[in-house]
């Protein structure tokens, strides 16, 4: 084991960070499942209005078997579980394309306001506050993206993509061009782009990158046709590179009769510096859980609002929120819901992830113009500084908020496991595939120079280690390296399945 070997980097002045994660072991096993602490079976019996079930037997189940534990026992269980998780408040979390920023705690206070807890079927007149927040957030996002109209309904980025695809379909159909059945997606794009286009029924045309890591214009020309419904792009792209030919790309797509879709995953690089609407994009989604710092919550909830140019506004999901021409008797603006003229309908049962949208509104209102512009500036400076400090090769540039280093002869996934032992979260690995053994790194604006130095030291320490150290990592985490093959080959997806197995 090499767990306590000295700093492997050549930065003698940078203290080596280590991080031992909480690890409970009892009777040779980690923290037990709730079901291993208790399982109680409650019988449901009798159609007896006094003490039995209020329903006839044939409408009810026979019994229910679940853990029955006291509140103190549960408090300890969940506290222990929380200690076995690395979050953004634990340390740097430079997952490329994920934009793991610090989540300001005050936004939780705002979302917890009792006045925010309203039902979606309330009358417009009685929820003017909620409608005002939604209206102003639509407006903020429109300005930030350079878009004419915004829907807040999509509950995640992929849902936003799907809205974009459905809006494109409705637009083409409306114009008598329903035959367009292809969506072009760069080879290096997020997996959701392909999947969202396919969910919308489109054939996906994959577009290779050129030698510089950007859209290959000749390949694009070849891919475009009268069947093209849209091109989906992110800019900067997954290598962190700005698509310099973006206006040419937009002209080419529009010339072919297609629409240009902007994947907002990398918008943090551009806040206040460039806007998708000004580059010729027709539709975009915003990942508010990335760019606007709402917490990822271990996988969600997020929100994926969609902005469009005015020609596409009539197709957006229903309802949107607008301000009425006349004020209230008290002189306040009045907000109302409305259905766009040719709406695609709904993509969520109600109006999306309200509590997430509320946090995003609070974040934008806190930062304002200066804060937003500084977020992108600091994010880009941090990525450039970190890349300069690490020993791994970064083959493509100039990059912005993220860069993709190559682990070279090392296995990128192993590098990631080993980095865990140095008290940092590793980057996204093995993607995009254009870089061999990719380490896709996005430090975001929230890391200080000191933290970036520690992060660089972790990269460099691992760069200097041998295969043995990498393959046996991690060793300081709650669990040691987990066997993925067995998990997939013999799926055990519930405590009931574990019992069956035993």
């Amino acid at each position: 084991m090499s767990g306590d070997r000295p700093d492997g980097s050549d930065d003698g002045d940078v203290p080596q960070s280590r991080y031992d994660q909480a690890r409970y072991v009892e009777n040779g096993e980690y923290e037990p499942l709730l079901s291993e602490k208790d399982l109680t079976r409650v019988e449901i019996s009798g159609d007896n209005d006094t003490d039995g079930s209020p329903l006839p037997d044939d409408l009810t189940r026979d019994s229910l078997e679940l853990p029955e534990l006291s509140e103190p026992e549960l408090a300890r269980h969940y506290t222990r579980l929380s200690q076995m998780i690395y979050g953004i408040d634990s340390g740097p979390y430079p997952l490329g394309s994920c934009t793991m920023k610090y989540n300001p705690t005050f936004t939780e206070d705002v979302a917890a306001l009792p006045s925010a807890a309203v039902h979606p079927d309330r009358t417009e007149a009685s929820v003017q506050g909620t409608l005002e927040v939604l209206y102003r957030l639509q407006d903020y996002l429109g300005r930030i993206g350079g878009m004419d109209a915004v829907t807040l309904q999509p509950p995640a980025g992929a849902a936003g993509e799907f809205v974009g695809i459905r809006v494109a379909a409705a637009y083409h159909e409306h114009n008598g061009e329903g035959h367009r059945d292809e969506v072009i997606v760069p080879e290096s794009a997020h997996g959701t782009n392909f999947a969202s286009a396919a969910l919308g029924g489109y054939d996906v045309v994959s577009l290779p990158s050129d030698d510089d890591g950007r859209v290959d214009l000749e390949a694009l020309e070849a891919a475009l046709s009268e069947d093209t419904a849209a091109l989906m792009l992110t800019n900067p792209n997954t290598l962190g590179l700005f698509e310099r030919e973006i206006t040419t790309i937009a002209d080419m797509v529009h010339e072919a009769g297609g629409l240009l879709y902007y994947d907002g995953a990398n918008l943090n690089a551009l806040l206040g510096r460039a806007r998708p609407g000004d580059m010729g994009f027709d539709v975009m989604h915003y990942n508010v859980h990335k760019t606007f710092a709402t917490p990822h919550g271990g996988g969600g909830p997020g929100a994926g609002p969609v902005g469009v140019v005015s020609d596409l506004a009539p197709f957006l999901p229903a309802p949107r929120v607008r301000e009425r021409a006349t004020e209230s008797p008290a002189g306040e603006p009045v907000y109302e819901r409305f259905d766009p003229e040719h709406t695609i309908g709904k993509v969520h049962g109600f109006d999306g992830n309200w509590l997430v949208l509320l946090k995003a509104f609070a974040y934008i209102a806190r930062l304002g113009d200066e804060g937003l512009a500084d977020a992108s500036a600091s994010a880009v400076l941090n990525a450039n500084y970190l890349a300069e400090r690490i020993e791994y090769d970064v083959p493509y540039g100039p990059f912005h908020h993220e860069f993709v280093a190559s682990a070279g002869e090392q296995d990128a996934a192993d590098v990631a496991k080993r980095m865990l032992d140095y008290g940092v979260h590793p980057p996204t690995t093995k993607w995009p595939e254009i870089v061999p053994e990719a380490l896709m790194t996005e430090p975001t604006e929230v890391e200080s120079k000191d933290t970036l130095d520690r992060l660089a030291a972790a990269f460099n320490a691992v760069a200097g280690e041998d295969d043995d150290a990498l393959e046996t990592a991690p060793e300081r985490t709650t669990a040691r390296r987990i066997d993925q093959t067995t998990a997939a080959r013999t799926p055990r997806l519930s405590w009931q399945a574990l019992e069956d197995d035993a």
């Binding site: 209020p54 329903l55 409408l59 853990p67 534990l69 549960l74 929380s82 076995m84 998780i85 690395y86 634990s90 920023k101 610090y102 300001p104 705002v110 925010a116 807890a117 309203v118 039902h119 979606p120 009358t123 927040v133 509950p155 992929a158 379909a169 286009a197 396919a198 969910l199 700005f242 919550g297 271990g298 996988g299 969600g300 909830p301 695609i344 969520h348 049962g349 109600f350 999306g352 609070a362 806190r366 304002g368 500084d374 500084y385 912005h400 865990l420 890391e447 200080s448 669990a479 390296r481 987990i482 998990a487 997939a488 799926p491 055990r492 997806l493 519930s494 405590w495 009931q496 574990l498």
Partner: protein
Amino acid sequence: MHGSHATGSPYAPYTEEDRTAMLETVGAEAVDELFDIPADVRFNGRFDIDARTERETRRLVRSMLDRNDDVTELLGRGHYGYYVPSLVDHLADRSEFLTSYTQYQPEVSQGFLQALFEYQSLLVELTGLEVANCSMYDAATALGEAATLADRVRDTTGRRVLVPELLREERRSTLENYVAGTDLAVETYPVADGTVDLAGLTDLVDDGVVMIYAESPTVRGTIEEDLEAIGDLAADTEALFVLGSDPVALSLLERPVDVGADVVVGDASVLGLPTSYGMGLGLFATRADYLRQVPGRLVGASEDATDRRAFTLTLQTREQHIRRERATSNICTNQAWVALRTAMHAAVLGPSGLVDLAERDVRRARDLAARLDDLVGVIAPVHDRHHLREFVARVDQPARAVADALEKRGFAVHVVGDHEIQICIAGVSDERIDGFVAAVEEVTR
């Protein structure tokens, strides 16, 4: 450090000195040089959004939300405001839960993975089905995902998806969008007195049906009595039987597996989330037969290098980041943190608390309907059915006028017909219900 804080974002922590040193390291004079953006697409304008202090921002949001009227909501129809125990807020808000990412590095994410595994297990117990994923966005999108699953696994050449005419229009519309990329066609089957018209449904079922969807409780709060017959109808034609429900209802009502359900969808956030303007948690459970066609993330048990049990995301080859356009769904970001809250809320209640909550939902709705039925000008419930937590009442006066008059008195109800209002007791205290009955008496007099 804050004294020499040099940047415009309160959450970008370095000083002027740091920035100078960093620029020197990267070999640039100014940050602007690092942006490789052509001049013609550079943005030189302003958003005209003022920066605020934390305190000012809180005041701003509070003052906006103060425009929401403080009324007692007797509202349901798919979104419920049960009381959420304090433990849920405090422990789910621990920042390790709140601020972590998807568990792509399971060795540092065991706690969240275990909580999601426990959530999946809760749903397995409630539904009797072997596989539950660790979340979809909400009930409507889970229904859409069930239809695309039916499209992938169907044995027939059919293309019809049958849904009840009572389905919320929002769910129907979401479903239509999800199947837009398939050749499936959504059709309506009739409802009689608030539940499935079995004869009417039977007439519509043939080999062309790919999926039959039913809900219990229905959007009008009625408990479906013919689920087993619907399951048989589906089985006879090899259609998928998809059942919509929720964890509170499932704590008491027939187990979906026992009535032949192939997929269960619904809103699991009835536990765990307070009223949240429709934000939810898509429940999705199905038979083991369809394991490799399940949308969304799955947490499984495995072992680590010390042979101890550990948890990890598994069967990821179904997912978009690996399978791309051939993935079972486009979902990536999901509602994991809400699933955590749901699991916590269920754990606080325990099996006895869950059954008790569901039984009280039956009794309290029944009692309130009886009290309203005693009033002149009100008939409740409209449907001669068992109900869970909500019911429809007929009012002699126009329903809109009744609802508006009730709102003025501080009570919100649904208007579901010219002379029909719908009332839900979930999360409403007995005292408020007394006040509500008095208010209804006043406005319908």
